[in-house]
């Protein structure tokens, strides 16, 4: 396959950036998108140019490290992570636009790499449970109804890749935060911090400068793990419930 790539190049956080065009040949349809970028980078290195910086780690779709906007879609045209996107979904001669996640809360570090530590701070504000340490409890010590376990698991699948923020026209982190809140708030283990968790995590999310939700649904379309849009509604319900209960009283 012969492709024209237009990639966002930016030397550093404060530097100006621009879309830069590269011609690349000999791409096999079986390559993943990241392997295609590896091929480009090898050529760039041999030519003495700076390779394109991008995040990646597991390359099997479970870590959430990789992520770029490909032709205007977070993680490209398939519902998967960029590492699991294969070149067979493109045609010979295509022009492909590759951009970093664009959000005020995700500043560009270099080229396609953005700083997603805002997500870590949201998690730190409430994405945990307080449990006694020591030996593992018996599996049946705390009964969890199957539908609750399923809902919790569905939301625990979130890998924090940030595609929801990148796809949202408002750069909102509502889908990510709702996945974390719903995952823990439906489980019996999450009950002690049920109110403080949602209030603190929504507060942390707002502080990071993410936009608000306008229910466009772009996030749920982009999510490689299929977190449903209604998770946001479930978090809204938790937030309003906690606000009315004054649940912030025992925060911390």
């Amino acid at each position: 396959m012969r492709l024209t790539l237009r990639i966002w190049r930016q030397r550093g956080p404060e530097q100006p950036g621009a879309m830069t065009a590269y011609e690349i040949d000999g791409i096999s349809p079986e390559m993943s998108f990241l392997e295609m970028l590896d091929t480009l980078n090898e050529e760039l290195i041999l030519r003495g140019e700076e390779p394109v910086a991008f995040d990646h780690d597991c390359r099997e779709g479970i870590c959430g490290a990789c992520g770029m906007v490909i032709n205007g879609q977070a993680h490209g045209p398939e519902r998967t992570t960029t590492c699991q996107l294969h070149m067979r979904h493109f045609s010979d001669g295509d022009t492909i636009d590759v951009e970093p996640w664009r959000a005020a809360a995700f500043p560009v570090v270099k080229d396609l790499v953005v700083d997603r530590s805002a997500f870590d701070r949201i998690i730190g504000s409430g994405g945990f449970i307080s449990a006694p340490t020591g030996s593992a409890p018996d599996a049946h010590a705390t009964p969890v109804p199957k539908p609750v376990a399923d809902t919790a698991f569905e939301h625990a699948e979130c890998i924090g890749c940030g595609a929801c923020v990148a796809a949202c026209p408002n750069g909102s982190a509502m889908l990510f935060t709702s996945a974390k809140v719903v995952h823990l708030n439906v489980l019996p283990q999450g009950q002690p911090e049920r109110e403080s968790r949602v209030l603190d995590m929504v507060g942390a999310m707002d502080e990071e400068g993410f936009g608000g939700c306008t229910n466009t649904g772009e996030c749920a379309v982009a999510c490689p793990k299929g977190i449903p849009l209604q998770s946001i509604s479930m978090m809204n319900r938790e937030f309003l419930r906690a606000s009315v209960k004054g649940g912030g009283r025992n925060r911390g």
Binding site: R6, W8, M19, V69, N71, G72, Q73, D97, E99, R102, A103, A104, A105, S117, D120, R121, G124, P169, N170, G171, S172, M174, L199, V202, G203, M205, D206, G209, F210, G211, G212, C213, T214, N215, T216, G217, E218, V221, P228, L229, Q230, I232, S233, M234, M235, N236, R237, E238, F239, L240, R241, S243, V244, G246, G248, R249, N250, G252
Partner: protein, 254 residues
């Protein structure tokens, strides 16, 4: 030893190494419920949802009232007069109407201010646009902001036209039926009204479903039903309002 496990609410326990130095916590004075809801993006959206539903309830009553125009001037003008004497003798003449107006103005102002503040925030959250963008959201979703502004301007014209009668040239106070016919006998009256009602339908189609989501009632298994219901409400309301100018234009109402 058991006492040592208690955490002092004024001084939160150390939660391990932090990347950012934490600013000193202010003395623990609980923010009020209204204050903390208004400051949060989720809470502000809830305010928009509730005020939107208040306005929607009013519009439903307004639309069904409008349909009385098809029963002739006597019945319509009698209905318009009754609106002014609701609640008598407990309420004075037009008091009920003024109560409704106060509630509506409060709703419009809260809805608009919240929308403005949230929109400013949303636009700031994406300082640089994408070079290429997938067009995904529906027309109704994409036009919520400007559609809302158009509806606000329409409300101003509508009040000047049929409440204060300022811009309605052939209007007479106390004859609402005749005034409605006068408005819809002009091309611009029809155009402004019908365009605004189509914008209203689009606004409600996304807005009602969105309000339900915002107030926390959205679930995957009932999403389809909620979307269909919102579209149905939008079509019925817009259609009901538009039937009046159509009636005047076709001579059914004259």
């Amino acid at each position: 030893m058991a006492l040592a496990t208690r955490t002092d609410p004024e001084r939160p326990a150390q939660k391990g190494p932090r990347q950012r130095p934490e600013p000193p916590r202010k003395p623990a004075r609980r923010p009020s419920l209204i204050g903390s809801v208004w400051r949060s993006t989720v809470g502000k959206k809830a305010v928009m949802a509730v005020t939107g539903l208040v306005m929607l309830a009013y519009l439903a009553a307004h639309m069904f009232g409008n349909l009385k125009i098809f029963f002739g001037p006597g019945e319509f003008n009698h209905y318009a007069h009754w609106l002014r004497v609701i609640g008598e003798p407990a309420l004075h003449y037009e008091w009920f109407l003024w109560l409704v107006r106060v509630a509506l103005v409060a709703s419009v102002v809260l809805h608009g201010v919240a929308a403005y503040q949230l929109s400013r925030r949303d636009l700031a959250a994406r300082p640089r646009k994408y070079a290429r963008r997938r067009q995904g959201a529906s027309y109704a979703t994409r036009t919520m902001r400007w559609g809302g502004v158009i509806l606000g301007l329409f409300v101003v014209w509508h009040i000047l036209d049929l409440t204060t009668l300022t811009v309605n040239e052939r209007a007479e106070p106390g004859h609402p039926y005749q005034n409605v016919v006068a408005t819809f006998s002009t091309w611009y009256g029809n155009t402004i009204y019908i365009v605004a009602m189509l914008a209203l339908g689009a606004h409600i189609r996304h807005g009602l479903w969105s309000a339900i989501q915002t107030l926390g009632a959205g679930r995957p298994h009932r999403d389809r039903a909620l979307k269909i219901a919102s579209t149905a409400v939008a079509v019925v309301l817009a259609g009901g309002f538009i039937s009046v100018p159509i009636g005047v234009m076709t001579g059914v109402v004259s």
